[in-house]
Amino acid sequence: MHTVVIGVIGADVHAVGNKIIEHVLTEKGFDVVNIGVLSSQEDFINAAIETDAEAILVSSLYGHGEMDCKYFKENCVEAGLSHVKLYVGGNIVVGKQDFKEVEQRFKKMGFDRVYPPGADIEQAAEDLKGDLSK
């Protein structure tokens, strides 16, 4: 069973998607560690270390995602989590922006997969299975 950490980063309190992600990933057979809303990068990293997780799924809905995710990859590497897959999704930037560009920006920041607003979590679960079986 794959262990994954999920949560909502920064000063963000959007809880609904987070609860559904937990439900769906659990149904799909993942061992889900949900650190909930208002979580810092540290919270994510600590949870991943403690549970020996293979992936971190960061949600950001409220628009500060770009600022909150700065150096996340670097901090993971520093904490010895360079092998952990990093996904991000939600409404990760302020306003309606061209998603291709946004994806580029976050990939450059070290995220393995970047999801647009309202992305289908079932699809993401499939992606995850693929990535973790490699």
Binding site: G10, V13, V16, Y62, G63, H64, G95
Partner: protein, 495 residues
């Protein structure tokens, strides 16, 4: 334990010193009570929230108000002017950014700097505390409508001091409604205390002859919350505010989707709030209502978003809401451009204009829904008071602890989170898991039967999957979330 009692002058001023010291802008001259009162007294009637609301209520008009806020003062002014001129907004907001909401003023300061550099807003709102009272006043002077702060700040004491001293005559929030949906681990005792302070400040102004409008945040998590639960929270916050001397209160409600349920909710929201204020001896409080256009997930398509925005506007008019918070066609994607925001406003204005003379006619269906809401609110309020041994503030804290009050999908750990809602066959929000809600068997049976009835029609189970389907439904163009199987069949009525 916290009590629902007017704060003493002494206590208030002692706290005030500490509050104003929280950030450098707290020590500005404008924040001297006398100065603030003088400024507030000088605000012309057309920029005075309470007056404008009062007049709208008398005329039976539903006013429009968007959400909007950006990091920098000039751009914020430009934004508000645009929404007034091109969106025909009747009331203006200043949505506060999420760092300020969490009192992280130095993070906000950084973001302001970066926004200046990059010449675009890196914040999701206007950082009023960092900018200070004079900046707020600058904003007010630049526009011709009343301005309100809209946020989601558990501890909004400094923010409230600053905006009112800056001439903004309304403030959204409350000790429950800006905690449960907006925080994870702050105690209700703390937030109730913060908002007693904020309401007491407004009470002080009232004693000096300045009426500031206060608005509990109605929709809470905006996600399938049954009307009786949001109503109860709104009424509690109205009562707590009135105790501190607030004289103009706008209670809110977010569109649930079934028109009869929505109109019933709007009508009972006003009548119950008025009833309970009087019951507890607050005679001279002016009550108005605010209807929030759909607060859950939106469809991606902008035309479809305009459809729901317009439908919401029809409901607000039919239900006689005093004002309405509008959404934009960008809702599902991100904070709207000013143009998109104005589009939502204009569609809303068109519909409220067309329906200005119309109300939902009384009917048995409406009456039944109103009765259900009333019974439920009465039960919730009774249980809350009871558990607080007659004190509403204490009762609130204990009621949440006991799950007697319980808000679906709230992030807060002090919320029981046992209640699960789902829609019945007509799209009314009903309850699937009651947790510890103090409802009698008759009410519970009514809810369960309604959901069973839908489940039968759709040949499915009443379960959490139903709730999930309902959460997704609107963004997929339906109110009642069909299970995948039913959906495929129903979406294509043409064979």
């Amino acid at each position: 334990m916290i009590k629902n009692k007017k704060l003493s002058e002494e206590k208030f001023h002692k706290t005030r010193e500490k509050v104003l010291a929280q950030w450098e802008t707290g020590s500005a001259k404008a924040l001297k009570i006398e100065n603030a009162i003088e400024r507030l007294k000088s605000i012309p009637e057309e920029k005075d929230f309470a007056s404008v609301l009062k007049r709208a209520k008398e005329e039976g008009v539903t006013l429009t108000q968007p959400r909007a806020g950006v990091a920098l003062i000039d751009q914020h002014i430009e934004l508000l002017r645009f929404l007034a001129d091109h969106g025909e907004a009747d009331l203006l907001p200043s949505t506060i950014d999420s760092y300020t909401r969490q009192n992280r003023y130095s993070l906000a300061a950084d973001a302001i700097k970066q926004s200046k550099k990059q010449k675009r807003s890196l914040l999701n709102g206007f950082p009023a505390v960092n900018h200070g009272a004079e900046a707020c006043y600058e904003v007010l002077q630049a526009v011709s409508r009343p301005v309100q702060a809209r946020h989601g700040t558990p501890d909004a004491r400094l923010l409230s001091e600053i905006i009112h001293a800056g001439g903004w005559t309304s403030n959204e929030g409350g000790g429950i409604s800006y905690n449960i949906p907006y925080a994870k681990s702050i105690s209700l005792e703390d937030t109730l205390r913060y908002w007693q302070y904020i309401d007491r400040l407004v009470g002080l102004y009232a004693e000096a002859g300045v009426i500031i409008n206060r608005e509990p945040f109605g929709p809470l998590t905006g996600t399938l919350v049954p009307p009786s639960i949001t109503h109860t929270v709104a009424i509690i916050e109205a009562l707590l505010a009135a105790e501190q001397g607030v004289k103009s209160i706008t209670v809110g409600y977010g569109q649930c989707g079934n028109i009869v349920q929505d109109v019933a909710a709007l009508e009972t929201l006003e009548s119950l709030t008025t009833y309970y204020l009087k019951l507890f001896g607050y005679e001279d409080v002016h009550v108005t209502t605010v209807f929030h256009q759909w607060m859950g997930g939106f469809p991606k398509d902008e035309s479809k978003a305009m459809g729901i925005i317009s439908l919401a506007s029809a409901v607000a008019s039919l239900g006689g809401a005093t004002k309405m918070i509008t959404k934009s066609p960008h809702e599902s994607e991100g904070i709207p451009t000013k143009e998109a925001n104005a589009e939502g406003l204009r569609a809303s204005k068109m519909v409220t204009g067309l329906l200005r003379e119309q109300r939902q006619p009384p009917s048995n269906a409406l009456e039944a829904e109103k009765n259900l809401i009333k019974q439920e609110v009465n039960a919730l309020l009774y249980a809350t008071l009871n558990i607080g041994k007659g004190d509403l503030a204490e009762g609130t804290v204990k009621a949440f602890k006991a799950g007697v009050l319980d808000v679906p999908f709230a992030p807060s750990q002090i919320n029981a989170g046992k209640v699960l809602p789902a829609r019945d066959a007509k799209g009314n929000i009903r309850i699937l898991e009651f947790g510890n809600l103090p409802f009698n068997d008759e009410i519970k049976t009514y809810h369960r039967d309604a959901l069973e009835n839908r489940a039968d029609q759709e040949s499915r189970q009443v379960d959490f999957q139903m709730t999930i389907d309902d959460i997704y439904a609107v963004s997929r163009g339906r109110l009642v979330g069909a299970s995948i199987a039913t959906q495929n069949k129903k979406e294509h009525p043409t064979p």
